[in-house]
Protein backbone atom coordinates (compact mmCIF):
# COMPACT_ATOMS: atom_id res chain seq x y z
CA UNK A 1 0.00 0.00 0.00
CA UNK A 2 2.67 2.43 0.99
CA UNK A 3 4.41 2.16 -2.35
CA UNK A 4 1.17 2.96 -4.10
CA UNK A 5 0.55 6.26 -2.32
CA UNK A 6 2.53 8.52 -4.69
CA UNK A 7 0.46 7.18 -7.56
CA UNK A 8 -2.72 7.90 -5.66
CA UNK A 9 -1.60 11.45 -5.02
CA UNK A 10 -0.75 11.90 -8.67
CA UNK A 11 -4.08 10.51 -9.76
CA UNK A 12 -5.80 12.96 -7.41
CA UNK A 13 -3.83 15.81 -8.88
CA UNK A 14 -4.95 14.86 -12.37
CA UNK A 15 -8.51 14.61 -11.15
CA UNK A 16 -8.36 18.19 -9.89
CA UNK A 17 -6.70 19.40 -13.06
CA UNK A 18 -9.32 17.73 -15.14
CA UNK A 19 -12.15 19.49 -13.36
CA UNK A 20 -15.36 17.79 -12.31
CA UNK A 21 -14.63 14.50 -14.01
CA UNK A 22 -13.27 12.14 -11.39
CA UNK A 23 -10.42 9.79 -12.09
CA UNK A 24 -10.97 6.24 -11.03
CA UNK A 25 -8.41 6.05 -8.25
CA UNK A 26 -9.56 2.61 -7.30
CA UNK A 27 -7.80 1.09 -10.30
CA UNK A 28 -4.49 1.88 -8.59
CA UNK A 29 -5.42 -0.16 -5.56
CA UNK A 30 -4.40 -3.78 -5.18
CA UNK A 31 -7.22 -6.08 -6.24
CA UNK A 32 -7.73 -7.25 -2.67
CA UNK A 33 -7.86 -3.70 -1.14
CA UNK A 34 -10.86 -2.76 0.96
CA UNK A 35 -12.55 0.26 -0.60
CA UNK A 36 -13.35 3.16 1.71
CA UNK A 37 -14.76 5.61 -0.83
CA UNK A 38 -14.37 8.80 1.15
CA UNK A 39 -15.29 11.85 -0.92
CA UNK A 40 -14.37 15.49 -0.33
CA UNK A 41 -17.00 17.88 0.90
CA UNK A 42 -16.80 21.68 1.05
CA UNK A 43 -17.40 23.39 4.36
CA UNK A 44 -20.07 26.05 4.73
CA UNK A 45 -19.94 28.69 7.41
CA UNK A 46 -22.46 28.43 10.23
CA UNK A 47 -25.18 31.04 10.51
CA UNK A 48 -23.66 34.34 11.57
CA UNK A 49 -23.59 34.88 15.31
CA UNK A 50 -22.39 37.76 17.50
CA UNK A 51 -19.00 36.18 18.09
CA UNK A 52 -18.28 35.82 14.37
CA UNK A 53 -15.18 37.90 13.72
CA UNK A 54 -13.69 38.97 10.39
CA UNK A 55 -10.05 40.07 10.31
CA UNK A 56 -8.71 42.07 7.37
CA UNK A 57 -5.03 41.47 6.77
CA UNK A 58 -3.21 43.76 4.32
CA UNK A 59 -0.21 41.38 4.29
CA UNK A 60 2.32 44.20 4.25
CA UNK A 61 5.26 42.03 3.14
CA UNK A 62 3.26 41.00 0.06
CA UNK A 63 0.99 43.95 -0.30
CA UNK A 64 -0.69 42.97 -3.57
CA UNK A 65 -2.56 40.12 -1.88
CA UNK A 66 -4.73 40.98 1.13
CA UNK A 67 -6.75 38.38 3.05
CA UNK A 68 -9.85 38.24 5.19
CA UNK A 69 -9.77 35.69 7.99
CA UNK A 70 -13.05 34.48 9.46
CA UNK A 71 -12.92 33.48 13.10
CA UNK A 72 -15.33 31.81 15.48
CA UNK A 73 -14.71 33.77 18.67
CA UNK A 74 -16.52 31.24 20.83
CA UNK A 75 -14.49 28.30 19.59
CA UNK A 76 -11.38 30.39 19.08
CA UNK A 77 -10.72 28.86 15.69
CA UNK A 78 -10.41 29.81 12.04
CA UNK A 79 -13.53 28.87 10.09
CA UNK A 80 -12.60 30.34 6.71
CA UNK A 81 -10.55 32.80 4.70
CA UNK A 82 -10.92 34.70 1.49
CA UNK A 83 -8.40 36.31 -0.82
CA UNK A 84 -8.46 39.99 -1.73
CA UNK A 85 -6.36 42.46 -3.70
CA UNK A 86 -3.93 45.35 -3.20
CA UNK A 87 -4.66 47.44 -0.09
CA UNK A 88 -8.17 45.98 -0.03
CA UNK A 89 -10.98 47.16 2.17
CA UNK A 90 -13.79 45.10 3.60
CA UNK A 91 -17.45 45.49 4.56
CA UNK A 92 -20.24 43.21 5.77
CA UNK A 93 -23.93 43.31 4.87
CA UNK A 94 -25.98 44.22 7.97
CA UNK A 95 -27.27 40.63 8.22
CA UNK A 96 -23.87 39.15 7.21
CA UNK A 97 -25.57 37.37 4.27
CA UNK A 98 -22.88 38.81 2.04
CA UNK A 99 -19.39 40.14 2.61
CA UNK A 100 -17.54 42.51 0.30
CA UNK A 101 -13.93 43.21 -0.53
CA UNK A 102 -12.96 46.44 -2.25
CA UNK A 103 -10.04 45.44 -4.44
CA UNK A 104 -7.38 46.61 -6.86
CA UNK A 105 -5.61 44.16 -9.15
CA UNK A 106 -3.17 44.35 -12.03
CA UNK A 107 -3.43 41.87 -14.87
CA UNK A 108 0.18 40.74 -14.45
CA UNK A 109 0.44 40.84 -10.69
CA UNK A 110 2.33 44.06 -10.07
CA UNK A 111 1.91 45.44 -13.60
CA UNK A 112 -0.39 45.41 -16.58
CA UNK A 113 -3.95 46.64 -16.69
CA UNK A 114 -5.33 47.96 -13.42
CA UNK A 115 -8.79 46.90 -12.30
CA UNK A 116 -10.66 48.33 -9.31
CA UNK A 117 -13.77 46.50 -8.20
CA UNK A 118 -15.98 45.36 -5.37
CA UNK A 119 -16.18 41.59 -4.97
CA UNK A 120 -19.39 40.20 -3.44
CA UNK A 121 -19.04 36.94 -1.52
CA UNK A 122 -21.84 34.75 -0.26
CA UNK A 123 -21.66 34.99 3.52
CA UNK A 124 -21.97 31.23 4.10
CA UNK A 125 -20.23 29.55 1.14
CA UNK A 126 -17.70 32.33 0.43
CA UNK A 127 -18.41 31.75 -3.27
CA UNK A 128 -18.16 34.88 -5.39
CA UNK A 129 -21.66 36.21 -5.94
CA UNK A 130 -20.85 39.25 -8.09
CA UNK A 131 -18.11 41.60 -9.21
CA UNK A 132 -18.79 45.27 -9.85
CA UNK A 133 -16.12 47.48 -11.37
CA UNK A 134 -15.23 50.83 -9.85
CA UNK A 135 -14.38 52.80 -13.00
CA UNK A 136 -13.03 55.79 -11.09
CA UNK A 137 -10.74 53.65 -8.97
CA UNK A 138 -10.40 53.71 -5.21
CA UNK A 139 -8.14 55.36 -2.67
CA UNK A 140 -5.06 53.24 -2.06
CA UNK A 141 -4.04 53.43 1.56
CA UNK A 142 -3.27 51.18 4.49
CA UNK A 143 -6.84 50.01 5.19
CA UNK A 144 -9.11 51.85 7.57
CA UNK A 145 -12.70 50.79 8.11
CA UNK A 146 -14.20 54.09 7.05
CA UNK A 147 -12.67 53.89 3.57
CA UNK A 148 -15.36 51.44 2.56
CA UNK A 149 -18.83 51.00 3.96
CA UNK A 150 -22.33 49.72 3.40
CA UNK A 151 -25.46 51.78 4.07
CA UNK A 152 -27.44 50.78 7.14
CA UNK A 153 -30.06 48.92 5.08
CA UNK A 154 -27.43 47.11 3.04
CA UNK A 155 -28.60 48.68 -0.23
CA UNK A 156 -25.53 50.66 -1.25
CA UNK A 157 -21.81 50.09 -1.03
CA UNK A 158 -19.70 53.20 -0.60
CA UNK A 159 -16.00 53.42 -1.51
CA UNK A 160 -13.84 56.43 -0.71
CA UNK A 161 -11.86 57.77 -3.62
CA UNK A 162 -8.99 60.25 -3.92
CA UNK A 163 -8.15 60.78 -7.55
CA UNK A 164 -7.05 63.39 -6.42
CA UNK A 165 -10.32 65.22 -5.77
CA UNK A 166 -12.27 63.38 -3.10
CA UNK A 167 -15.46 61.48 -3.83
CA UNK A 168 -17.43 58.41 -2.81
CA UNK A 169 -18.16 55.71 -5.38
CA UNK A 170 -21.64 54.23 -4.99
CA UNK A 171 -22.63 50.68 -5.94
CA UNK A 172 -26.17 49.33 -5.76
CA UNK A 173 -26.09 45.88 -4.14
CA UNK A 174 -29.53 45.04 -5.49
CA UNK A 175 -28.80 45.82 -9.13
CA UNK A 176 -25.12 44.91 -8.68
CA UNK A 177 -24.26 48.07 -10.54
CA UNK A 178 -21.96 51.06 -10.17
CA UNK A 179 -24.11 54.20 -9.97
CA UNK A 180 -21.48 56.95 -9.95
CA UNK A 181 -19.59 59.30 -7.66
CA UNK A 182 -20.73 61.67 -4.93
CA UNK A 183 -18.27 64.55 -4.67
CA UNK A 184 -17.19 65.40 -1.11
CA UNK A 185 -14.81 68.34 -1.67
CA UNK A 186 -12.13 68.70 0.98
CA UNK A 187 -13.46 65.74 2.95
CA UNK A 188 -12.77 62.05 3.40
CA UNK A 189 -13.96 58.79 4.95
CA UNK A 190 -17.48 57.38 5.15
CA UNK A 191 -19.70 57.19 8.25
CA UNK A 192 -23.06 55.74 7.14
CA UNK A 193 -26.10 56.70 9.22
CA UNK A 194 -29.11 55.68 7.11
CA UNK A 195 -30.07 53.85 3.94
CA UNK A 196 -29.22 56.84 1.80
CA UNK A 197 -26.94 58.95 3.94
CA UNK A 198 -23.33 59.16 5.09
CA UNK A 199 -21.07 61.74 6.67
CA UNK A 200 -17.41 62.56 6.06
CA UNK A 201 -14.72 64.33 8.06
CA UNK A 202 -13.23 67.38 6.41
CA UNK A 203 -9.77 68.93 6.39
CA UNK A 204 -11.06 72.12 8.05
CA UNK A 205 -12.58 70.25 11.00
CA UNK A 206 -16.16 70.27 9.72
CA UNK A 207 -18.45 67.31 9.13
CA UNK A 208 -20.07 66.96 5.72
CA UNK A 209 -23.27 64.93 5.39
CA UNK A 210 -24.53 63.64 2.04
CA UNK A 211 -28.11 62.47 1.54
CA UNK A 212 -28.74 60.91 -1.86
CA UNK A 213 -31.47 59.29 -3.92
CA UNK A 214 -31.42 56.37 -6.35
CA UNK A 215 -30.12 58.60 -9.12
CA UNK A 216 -27.43 60.00 -6.83
CA UNK A 217 -29.07 63.38 -6.67
CA UNK A 218 -27.38 64.56 -3.48
CA UNK A 219 -27.96 67.12 -0.77
CA UNK A 220 -24.89 68.20 1.16
CA UNK A 221 -24.91 69.83 4.58
CA UNK A 222 -21.94 70.89 6.67
CA UNK A 223 -21.63 71.46 10.42
CA UNK A 224 -18.73 72.78 12.42
CA UNK A 225 -15.79 73.07 12.61
CA UNK A 226 -16.26 70.97 15.73
CA UNK A 227 -12.58 70.10 16.31
CA UNK A 228 -9.26 71.90 16.36
CA UNK A 229 -8.08 69.97 13.33
CA UNK A 230 -4.55 71.41 13.35
CA UNK A 231 -3.71 70.63 16.95
CA UNK A 232 -6.03 67.81 17.93
CA UNK A 233 -7.70 65.96 15.04
CA UNK A 234 -10.06 63.05 15.54
CA UNK A 235 -9.02 59.56 14.50
CA UNK A 236 -10.36 58.03 11.29
CA UNK A 237 -11.82 55.20 13.37
CA UNK A 238 -14.74 56.03 15.62
CA UNK A 239 -17.23 54.18 17.83
CA UNK A 240 -20.41 53.80 15.81
CA UNK A 241 -24.04 52.85 16.29
CA UNK A 242 -24.98 52.99 12.63
CA UNK A 243 -28.59 51.91 13.02
CA UNK A 244 -29.23 54.80 15.39
CA UNK A 245 -27.07 57.20 13.40
CA UNK A 246 -24.71 57.84 16.32
CA UNK A 247 -20.95 58.26 16.00
CA UNK A 248 -18.51 58.97 18.83
CA UNK A 249 -15.32 60.53 17.45
CA UNK A 250 -12.09 60.33 19.46
CA UNK A 251 -9.25 62.84 19.20
CA UNK A 252 -5.51 62.23 19.46
CA UNK A 253 -5.53 63.90 22.87
CA UNK A 254 -8.49 61.96 24.22
CA UNK A 255 -11.47 64.21 23.54
CA UNK A 256 -14.79 62.55 22.62
CA UNK A 257 -17.30 64.24 20.31
CA UNK A 258 -20.68 62.52 19.94
CA UNK A 259 -22.50 63.17 16.68
CA UNK A 260 -26.16 62.50 15.96
CA UNK A 261 -26.26 61.76 12.24
CA UNK A 262 -29.85 60.55 12.18
CA UNK A 263 -31.03 63.75 10.48
CA UNK A 264 -29.97 65.39 7.22
CA UNK A 265 -28.23 68.10 9.24
CA UNK A 266 -26.34 66.46 12.09
CA UNK A 267 -25.75 67.79 15.57
CA UNK A 268 -22.55 67.33 17.49
CA UNK A 269 -22.28 67.60 21.25
CA UNK A 270 -19.46 69.55 22.93
CA UNK A 271 -16.38 67.45 23.50
CA UNK A 272 -15.43 65.81 26.79
CA UNK A 273 -12.09 64.39 27.83
CA UNK A 274 -11.33 60.77 28.65
CA UNK A 275 -8.48 61.97 30.80
CA UNK A 276 -8.39 63.32 34.32
CA UNK A 277 -5.59 65.63 35.38
CA UNK A 278 -3.95 62.64 37.06
CA UNK A 279 -4.16 60.65 33.81
CA UNK A 280 -2.60 63.53 31.92
CA UNK A 281 0.19 63.82 34.48
CA UNK A 282 1.01 60.19 33.74
CA UNK A 283 0.97 60.89 29.96
CA UNK A 284 -1.89 58.50 29.19
CA UNK A 285 -3.14 58.85 25.61
CA UNK A 286 -5.19 56.92 23.08
CA UNK A 287 -3.11 55.11 20.49
CA UNK A 288 -3.18 52.38 17.88
CA UNK A 289 -4.91 51.75 14.58
CA UNK A 290 -8.52 50.72 15.22
CA UNK A 291 -8.20 52.57 18.49
CA UNK A 292 -11.79 52.91 19.68
CA UNK A 293 -14.98 50.86 19.59
CA UNK A 294 -18.19 50.46 21.54
CA UNK A 295 -20.54 47.92 23.05
CA UNK A 296 -23.86 49.24 21.85
CA UNK A 297 -26.28 47.39 24.18
CA UNK A 298 -24.64 48.92 27.27
CA UNK A 299 -23.42 52.19 25.76
CA UNK A 300 -19.82 51.57 26.73
CA UNK A 301 -16.84 53.06 24.94
CA UNK A 302 -13.63 50.99 24.69
CA UNK A 303 -10.37 52.82 23.99
CA UNK A 304 -6.78 51.58 23.51
CA UNK A 305 -4.52 53.59 25.84
CA UNK A 306 -0.78 53.91 26.37
CA UNK A 307 1.66 56.20 28.12
CA UNK A 308 3.43 58.36 25.59
CA UNK A 309 4.27 61.81 24.31
CA UNK A 310 2.31 63.86 21.83
CA UNK A 311 2.39 62.39 18.29
CA UNK A 312 2.39 58.82 19.54
CA UNK A 313 -1.12 58.33 18.24
CA UNK A 314 -0.28 55.05 16.50
CA UNK A 315 1.55 53.52 19.44
CA UNK A 316 -0.13 50.25 20.45
CA UNK A 317 -2.24 50.24 23.60
CA UNK A 318 -1.14 48.62 26.83
CA UNK A 319 -4.58 48.95 28.41
CA UNK A 320 -8.18 49.27 27.27
CA UNK A 321 -10.15 51.85 29.18
CA UNK A 322 -13.91 51.48 29.37
CA UNK A 323 -16.21 54.49 29.66
CA UNK A 324 -19.92 54.84 30.19
CA UNK A 325 -20.87 57.20 27.38
CA UNK A 326 -23.96 58.61 29.11
CA UNK A 327 -22.20 59.56 32.35
CA UNK A 328 -18.80 60.19 30.70
CA UNK A 329 -17.15 58.21 33.49
CA UNK A 330 -14.49 55.56 33.29
CA UNK A 331 -15.87 52.29 34.61
CA UNK A 332 -13.03 49.84 33.98
CA UNK A 333 -9.40 49.45 32.97
CA UNK A 334 -8.38 46.24 31.27
CA UNK A 335 -4.67 45.44 31.34
CA UNK A 336 -3.69 43.77 28.12
CA UNK A 337 -1.48 40.72 28.09
CA UNK A 338 0.14 42.05 24.93
CA UNK A 339 -0.02 45.56 23.46
CA UNK A 340 -2.70 45.90 20.80
CA UNK A 341 -3.19 47.96 17.64
CA UNK A 342 -6.89 47.24 17.04
CA UNK A 343 -9.95 46.35 19.11
CA UNK A 344 -13.51 45.20 18.43
CA UNK A 345 -16.44 43.94 20.49
CA UNK A 346 -19.16 41.37 20.03
CA UNK A 347 -22.55 43.02 20.42
CA UNK A 348 -24.19 40.48 22.73
CA UNK A 349 -24.88 40.25 26.44
CA UNK A 350 -21.64 38.51 27.37
CA UNK A 351 -19.39 40.46 25.02
CA UNK A 352 -15.94 39.57 23.89
CA UNK A 353 -13.24 42.17 23.55
CA UNK A 354 -11.03 41.21 20.60
CA UNK A 355 -7.54 42.68 20.49
CA UNK A 356 -5.10 42.40 17.61
CA UNK A 357 -1.44 42.64 18.54
CA UNK A 358 1.56 43.69 16.47
CA UNK A 359 2.80 40.11 16.48
CA UNK A 360 -0.19 38.75 14.57
CA UNK A 361 -1.83 37.46 17.73
CA UNK A 362 -5.54 37.80 18.38
CA UNK A 363 -6.15 37.87 22.12
CA UNK A 364 -9.75 37.68 23.29
CA UNK A 365 -10.93 38.97 26.67
CA UNK A 366 -14.24 38.94 28.49
CA UNK A 367 -15.23 42.56 27.82
CA UNK A 368 -16.92 42.88 31.23
CA UNK A 369 -14.42 41.20 33.55
CA UNK A 370 -11.29 41.73 31.46
CA UNK A 371 -10.28 38.09 31.88
CA UNK A 372 -8.53 36.42 28.98
CA UNK A 373 -10.71 34.04 26.98
CA UNK A 374 -8.25 32.81 24.38
CA UNK A 375 -5.31 33.49 22.12
CA UNK A 376 -4.84 32.74 18.44
CA UNK A 377 -1.95 33.39 16.10
CA UNK A 378 -2.55 33.57 12.36
CA UNK A 379 -1.40 35.49 9.31
CA UNK A 380 1.50 37.95 9.08
CA UNK A 381 0.01 41.42 9.54
CA UNK A 382 -3.69 41.15 10.45
CA UNK A 383 -4.93 44.66 11.09
CA UNK A 384 -8.65 45.42 11.15
CA UNK A 385 -11.39 43.67 13.11
CA UNK A 386 -15.08 43.44 12.15
CA UNK A 387 -17.80 41.64 14.12
CA UNK A 388 -21.23 40.44 13.00
CA UNK A 389 -23.66 43.31 13.42
CA UNK A 390 -20.73 45.73 13.65
Amino acid sequence: MTRKLPWLALASAFAIAAGPARADETKDLPSDAKLMGEQHSIAILSKPHPKRLYVLEPVFPHIIASKVWIIDGDKQEIVGMTSAGYCSNFAIAPDSSQIYTFDTYWSKGTRGTRTDLITFFDGRTLDIAAEVDLPKGRMLVVPKKQNAEVTTDGRYLLSYNLAPSTSVSVVDTKAKKYLGEIEIPGCGLIFPSAGNRFSSLCSDGTLLTATFDEKLKTKLSRVGPFIDVVNDPVYEHAAMDKQKGKVHFLSYEGMVYSADLSQEKPSISPGWSLLTDADKAESWRPGGWQVVNMHRPTGKLYVLMHKGARWTHKTPGEEVWVFDIASKKRVNRIHLKEHAISIALSQDDDPHLYTQTETATLITYDALSGKEVGEMKFGITPYLLFTHGD
Partner: protein, 180 residues
Protein backbone atom coordinates in the same frame (compact mmCIF):
# COMPACT_ATOMS: atom_id res chain seq x y z
CA UNK B 1 6.31 46.89 12.97
CA UNK B 2 5.43 48.27 9.63
CA UNK B 3 2.29 50.31 9.86
CA UNK B 4 1.89 53.09 7.38
CA UNK B 5 3.02 53.27 3.86
CA UNK B 6 3.96 56.26 2.03
CA UNK B 7 2.55 59.07 1.55
CA UNK B 8 1.76 62.51 1.63
CA UNK B 9 3.34 62.96 4.98
CA UNK B 10 4.25 66.59 5.54
CA UNK B 11 4.06 68.97 2.68
CA UNK B 12 4.33 68.47 -1.02
CA UNK B 13 7.77 69.43 -2.11
CA UNK B 14 6.29 71.21 -5.08
CA UNK B 15 4.20 73.45 -2.93
CA UNK B 16 7.05 74.40 -0.67
CA UNK B 17 10.04 74.59 -2.94
CA UNK B 18 8.60 75.72 -6.23
CA UNK B 19 11.25 73.67 -7.93
CA UNK B 20 10.83 72.59 -11.51
CA UNK B 21 8.65 69.53 -11.52
CA UNK B 22 6.99 67.33 -14.01
CA UNK B 23 3.62 68.35 -15.27
CA UNK B 24 1.98 65.31 -13.73
CA UNK B 25 3.10 66.27 -10.27
CA UNK B 26 2.19 69.88 -10.69
CA UNK B 27 -1.16 68.87 -12.00
CA UNK B 28 -1.86 66.57 -9.10
CA UNK B 29 -0.75 69.08 -6.53
CA UNK B 30 -2.78 71.84 -8.17
CA UNK B 31 -5.86 69.68 -8.16
CA UNK B 32 -5.52 68.50 -4.59
CA UNK B 33 -4.73 72.06 -3.61
CA UNK B 34 -7.95 73.15 -5.22
CA UNK B 35 -9.79 70.41 -3.42
CA UNK B 36 -8.49 71.53 -0.08
CA UNK B 37 -8.96 75.18 -0.88
CA UNK B 38 -12.66 74.45 -0.93
CA UNK B 39 -12.33 73.83 2.75
CA UNK B 40 -10.15 76.89 3.25
CA UNK B 41 -7.25 74.91 4.64
CA UNK B 42 -3.61 75.45 3.84
CA UNK B 43 -0.97 72.87 4.58
CA UNK B 44 1.71 73.59 7.09
CA UNK B 45 4.66 74.85 5.13
CA UNK B 46 8.26 74.07 5.98
CA UNK B 47 8.92 77.75 6.52
CA UNK B 48 6.39 77.69 9.31
CA UNK B 49 7.99 74.65 10.76
CA UNK B 50 11.41 76.25 10.58
CA UNK B 51 10.20 79.15 12.64
CA UNK B 52 9.09 76.67 15.27
CA UNK B 53 12.21 74.55 14.96
CA UNK B 54 12.68 74.27 18.70
CA UNK B 55 9.34 72.48 18.91
CA UNK B 56 9.63 70.70 15.60
CA UNK B 57 8.47 67.08 15.76
CA UNK B 58 11.61 66.24 13.74
CA UNK B 59 13.85 67.61 16.48
CA UNK B 60 11.90 65.73 19.11
CA UNK B 61 12.21 62.57 17.02
CA UNK B 62 15.98 62.91 16.67
CA UNK B 63 16.37 63.14 20.43
CA UNK B 64 13.98 60.32 21.23
CA UNK B 65 15.47 57.77 18.81
CA UNK B 66 19.08 58.96 19.18
CA UNK B 67 19.32 59.72 15.47
CA UNK B 68 22.60 58.70 13.77
CA UNK B 69 24.30 59.40 10.45
CA UNK B 70 26.25 56.18 9.86
CA UNK B 71 23.73 53.42 9.10
CA UNK B 72 21.00 54.15 6.51
CA UNK B 73 19.56 50.67 7.09
CA UNK B 74 18.46 51.55 10.62
CA UNK B 75 15.18 53.25 11.48
CA UNK B 76 16.97 55.95 13.45
CA UNK B 77 19.08 57.11 10.48
CA UNK B 78 18.72 60.87 10.70
CA UNK B 79 16.95 61.42 7.37
CA UNK B 80 14.06 59.14 8.28
CA UNK B 81 12.45 61.45 10.83
CA UNK B 82 9.23 61.50 8.79
CA UNK B 83 9.70 58.33 6.78
CA UNK B 84 7.17 55.55 7.01
CA UNK B 85 7.49 52.23 5.25
CA UNK B 86 10.19 49.82 4.07
CA UNK B 87 13.64 51.39 3.70
CA UNK B 88 15.00 51.33 0.13
CA UNK B 89 18.47 51.11 1.70
CA UNK B 90 17.61 47.55 2.76
CA UNK B 91 16.21 46.61 -0.66
CA UNK B 92 19.11 47.21 -3.03
CA UNK B 93 18.83 50.97 -3.13
CA UNK B 94 19.91 53.77 -0.84
CA UNK B 95 18.52 56.75 1.04
CA UNK B 96 18.13 58.55 -2.30
CA UNK B 97 18.34 55.63 -4.71
CA UNK B 98 15.56 53.34 -5.89
CA UNK B 99 16.40 49.62 -6.06
CA UNK B 100 17.02 48.26 -9.56
CA UNK B 101 13.89 48.09 -11.68
CA UNK B 102 11.76 50.33 -9.47
CA UNK B 103 11.01 53.95 -10.23
CA UNK B 104 10.83 56.99 -7.97
CA UNK B 105 7.43 58.58 -7.68
CA UNK B 106 7.40 61.98 -9.42
CA UNK B 107 5.61 63.24 -6.36
CA UNK B 108 7.08 63.64 -2.92
CA UNK B 109 6.42 65.07 0.49
CA UNK B 110 8.92 66.70 2.77
CA UNK B 111 9.97 66.74 6.36
CA UNK B 112 12.61 68.66 8.24
CA UNK B 113 15.15 66.51 10.03
CA UNK B 114 17.98 67.29 12.41
CA UNK B 115 21.46 66.12 11.42
CA UNK B 116 22.99 65.24 14.79
CA UNK B 117 26.55 65.70 13.48
CA UNK B 118 26.25 69.37 12.60
CA UNK B 119 23.13 70.23 14.59
CA UNK B 120 21.46 71.75 11.54
CA UNK B 121 18.04 71.17 10.05
CA UNK B 122 17.63 69.83 6.51
CA UNK B 123 14.64 69.60 4.26
CA UNK B 124 14.16 65.97 3.20
CA UNK B 125 12.09 64.85 0.21
CA UNK B 126 10.43 61.47 0.76
CA UNK B 127 9.80 59.66 -2.48
CA UNK B 128 8.32 56.24 -2.90
CA UNK B 129 10.00 53.79 -5.19
CA UNK B 130 7.20 52.09 -7.08
CA UNK B 131 6.48 49.30 -9.54
CA UNK B 132 7.19 46.14 -7.57
CA UNK B 133 5.61 44.34 -4.67
CA UNK B 134 6.52 45.64 -1.21
CA UNK B 135 10.18 45.07 -0.41
CA UNK B 136 9.33 43.91 3.09
CA UNK B 137 12.70 44.77 4.64
CA UNK B 138 13.36 47.27 7.42
CA UNK B 139 9.87 48.54 8.15
CA UNK B 140 10.06 51.88 9.99
CA UNK B 141 7.23 53.99 11.30
CA UNK B 142 7.40 57.68 12.11
CA UNK B 143 4.34 59.63 13.23
CA UNK B 144 5.65 63.02 14.31
CA UNK B 145 3.19 65.61 13.04
CA UNK B 146 1.21 62.97 11.18
CA UNK B 147 -2.48 63.63 10.51
CA UNK B 148 -5.53 61.54 9.54
CA UNK B 149 -6.30 60.84 5.88
CA UNK B 150 -8.95 63.56 5.69
CA UNK B 151 -5.92 65.84 5.73
CA UNK B 152 -4.18 63.80 3.02
CA UNK B 153 -1.20 66.06 2.49
CA UNK B 154 -0.13 65.36 6.07
CA UNK B 155 -0.93 61.67 6.28
CA UNK B 156 1.58 58.87 5.93
CA UNK B 157 -0.69 55.89 5.24
CA UNK B 158 -1.69 56.76 1.70
CA UNK B 159 0.16 55.02 -1.15
CA UNK B 160 2.22 57.81 -2.56
CA UNK B 161 3.03 56.66 -6.08
CA UNK B 162 0.77 59.25 -7.73
CA UNK B 163 1.86 60.51 -11.10
CA UNK B 164 4.28 57.68 -11.76
CA UNK B 165 4.12 54.66 -13.99
CA UNK B 166 2.80 52.39 -11.26
CA UNK B 167 0.75 52.66 -8.06
CA UNK B 168 2.44 49.59 -6.58
CA UNK B 169 4.49 50.54 -3.53
CA UNK B 170 7.96 49.03 -3.21
CA UNK B 171 9.96 51.04 -0.65
CA UNK B 172 10.62 54.47 0.86
CA UNK B 173 13.54 56.78 0.17
CA UNK B 174 14.71 60.10 1.58
CA UNK B 175 16.74 62.66 -0.42
CA UNK B 176 18.29 65.83 1.02
CA UNK B 177 16.79 68.90 -0.64
CA UNK B 178 18.78 71.47 1.26
CA UNK B 179 19.70 73.01 4.56
CA UNK B 180 17.00 75.11 6.14
Amino acid sequence: MFSGLQVIDKVFETMSRRTAQKISRRSFVARIGATLAGAAVLPVLPVARKAQAAEDPGVEWAKRVEAQTKDPRACNYWRYCSSDGYLCSCCGGGPATCPPGSTPSPTSWVGSCLNPDDGKMYLIAYRDCCGKDSCAQCGCLGTAGEMPTYRPQLNNDIIWCFGGSSMVYHCSSAAIVGQI
